[in-house]
């Protein structure tokens, strides 16, 4: 899923400084699952904005809303009336949701209340980690189901660098070395030979480096 983290309230306050009627809009998809942008977080952020406005003596009218998915036209259609009643929207969906709203309601400024962090999953309560980099050409079959593109700081394809120590990445002692994990996965399977093969240079044109990506499926077109 997409994992995000709410921006500091002060940063959001700066964005909306010139507007009075503000709609705080959540998304009940990924960002709700990671407790960053769902209905519950909308309530908390809206209260914080009301409170800080009151303390500062700013006149603000903060309303609240949420949809199932801010990244699909059919769900955001229903927001028309709510959006038209306000001067600006703070969306705490991911960057995809913010852009979808901005596209649908070009007259209204849509501000991001969230930093879209990465694609990953919860490891335990309160901890999320990045696991996929959407590089466009999955190699998990060759790396024991552990992605070095997303989980190695240098996205190495031929084994760990010289900074791997005690199973940790040189960049942070909090981060497991992806190649240490891959090594042990293959070792446990009795298939270490797989790591002797030289993996050729990656074709990054299928990743972001090839330009903005788009998928067209003729079989699904109406």
């Amino acid at each position: 899923m997409i994992v995000g983290e709410q921006k500091p309230v002060d940063e959001i306050r700066e964005m909306i400084a010139d507007y009075e009627k503000i709609l705080v809009l959540g998304c009940n998809g990924c960002v709700a699952v990671c407790f960053a942008g769902g209905e519950r977080e909308v309530k908390i952020l809206a209260s914080a904005l009301r409170m800080t406005a009151k303390i500062a003596g700013d006149k603000k009218e903060i309303t609240e809303g949420a949809v199932e998915k801010q990244c699909e036209w059919e769900f955001i259609e229903s927001l028309k009336e709510q959006v038209e009643k306000c001067e600006a929207v703070v969306s705490i969906a991911c960057g995809i949701g913010v852009q979808a709203l901005a596209e649908k309601f070009p007259e209204t400024p849509i501000f991001p209340g969230l930093n879209t962090s990465f694609m990953g999953m919860p490891l335990e309560a309160g901890v999320w980690a990045e696991t996929c980099a959407a590089c466009g050409e999955c190699i998990l079959d060759k790396t024991g189901g552990i992605c070095p593109i997303a989980r190695c700081a240098k996205n190495l394809l031929n084994g760990p660098c010289g900074g791997s120590q005690d199973g940790k990445c040189e960049v942070s002692p909090e981060t497991p070395c992806a190649w240490e994990l891959i090594y042990h996965r293959f070792k446990d399977r009795g298939r270490l030979g797989a790591l002797e093969e030289i993996r050729p240079a990656k074709d990054w044109s299928k990743a972001r480096d090839g330009g903005v990506r788009k998928i067209v499926r003729e079989d699904l077109k109406l």
């Binding site: 240098k154 084994g159 900074g163 005690d166 240490e180 790591l195 030289i198 993996r199 990054w204």
Partner: protein, 309 residues
């Protein structure tokens, strides 16, 4: 005599079976050519070839190729270093064509330290290739006259190709296998991470010999004189992948003259690694202490160095 791949002095000496000495020169953090010349003069008659780091620890310095070019002008033989951190395959190949055109004949290929440790931690890294893919690319440029994309070239850059390996990083059991990958990808010589733990290094070399790699590649053991107990502790705790035994830290700590003790330890380590089967030379990395190199080389009985042909 075997056909030379690059014609470099380093390649020739290794081919002749000489025990070689390479040293490291850290370029300055300013456009000061005199610093490079001064350091080069210190290393001139004590090292067979001189490594020039490529913005090591991700700190901006004079480029390895530019500094290497100054060394060529001075009659020294540089080993330029190329990391995967700052350049994609287009920039690397372009810079290597230029380096070869400027008369540089030795190249060391590395992954590169992450920029988090440097002076521009907010920069974007590249890592288009990893070090093994980089080795393969420069070997194909030299031996197949082909760019990474497969296109052919008229005049190929002829480098004596080096790689690094860290016997002290984890997983330890995989380190010799990774060296085998580097050899298969194109490495002609290896310079290892700094050796302080000679016993562990010997264990790694045993594995290297089991794989027959000592017959396929020249291995130079990395050494570095410790200046103080503070430096020893820093290297143990803050430099990823370095193994500094406590006994050494204690020894430096008790010494009346830590610098002298550091040089003494370095010479002892050289004498020990020299005896390990499959070691073809030493690579002295005296970090911002190039002046210690002549004394280390002399006390290790490695002078005079053979004249550059």
């Amino acid at each position: 005599m075997k056909l030379m791949k690059s014609g470099s002095n380093l390649e020739r000496l290794l081919q002749e079976g000489k025990f070689v000495v390479t040293a490291e020169l850290g370029p300055p953090k300013s456009a000061d050519a005199d610093v490079i010349r001064k350091k080069a003069n210190i290393l001139k008659d004590v090292a067979d070839a001189v490594n020039i780091t490529d913005c090591q620890t991700a700190i901006v310095r004079v480029s390895s190729i530019a500094a290497g070019c100054i060394l060529v002008q001075m009659g020294l033989e540089p080993i330029i270093q190329m990391t995967c951190r700052d350049r994609n395959r287009i920039a690397i190949q372009s810079d290597l064509l230029g380096a070869a055109a400027l008369g540089i004949r030795n190249l060391l290929c590395l992954t590169g330290d992450h920029q988090k440790f440097g002076n521009h931690p907010s920069s974007k890294n590249v890592f288009d290739l990893d070090s093994i893919q980089l080795l393969k690319m420069v070997k194909d440029m030299r031996d197949e006259k082909k760019f990474q994309c497969g296109e052919e070239m008229d005049i190929e850059p002829r480098f004596f190709i080096g790689a690094v390996e860290n016997p002290f990083a984890d997983p330890f059991e995989y380190r010799a296998l990774r060296l085998a990958k580097k050899v298969a990808a194109g490495a002609d010589f290896i310079q290892t991470q700094i050796v302080y733990n000679v016993d562990k290094f010997s264990q790694w070399m045993e594995r290297v010999r089991q794989l027959g790699l000592d017959h396929k590649v020249y291995i130079l053991a990395g050494v570095s004189p410790l200046k103080s107990v503070g430096m020893a502790k820093y290297m143990k705790h803050h430099v990823p992948g370095l193994d500094v035994p406590d006994a050494l830290i204690e020894r430096i700590g008790k010494a009346e003259n830590p610098k002298e003790e550091g040089i003494k330890i370095c010479v002892e380590i050289i004498n020990r690694v020299r005896k390990i089967q499959g070691i073809s030379g030493v690579h002295i990395m005296a970090i911002e202490w190039e002046t210690s190199v002549p004394e280390i080389v002399e006390r290790a009985g490695l002078l005079p160095r053979p004249k550059i042909a």
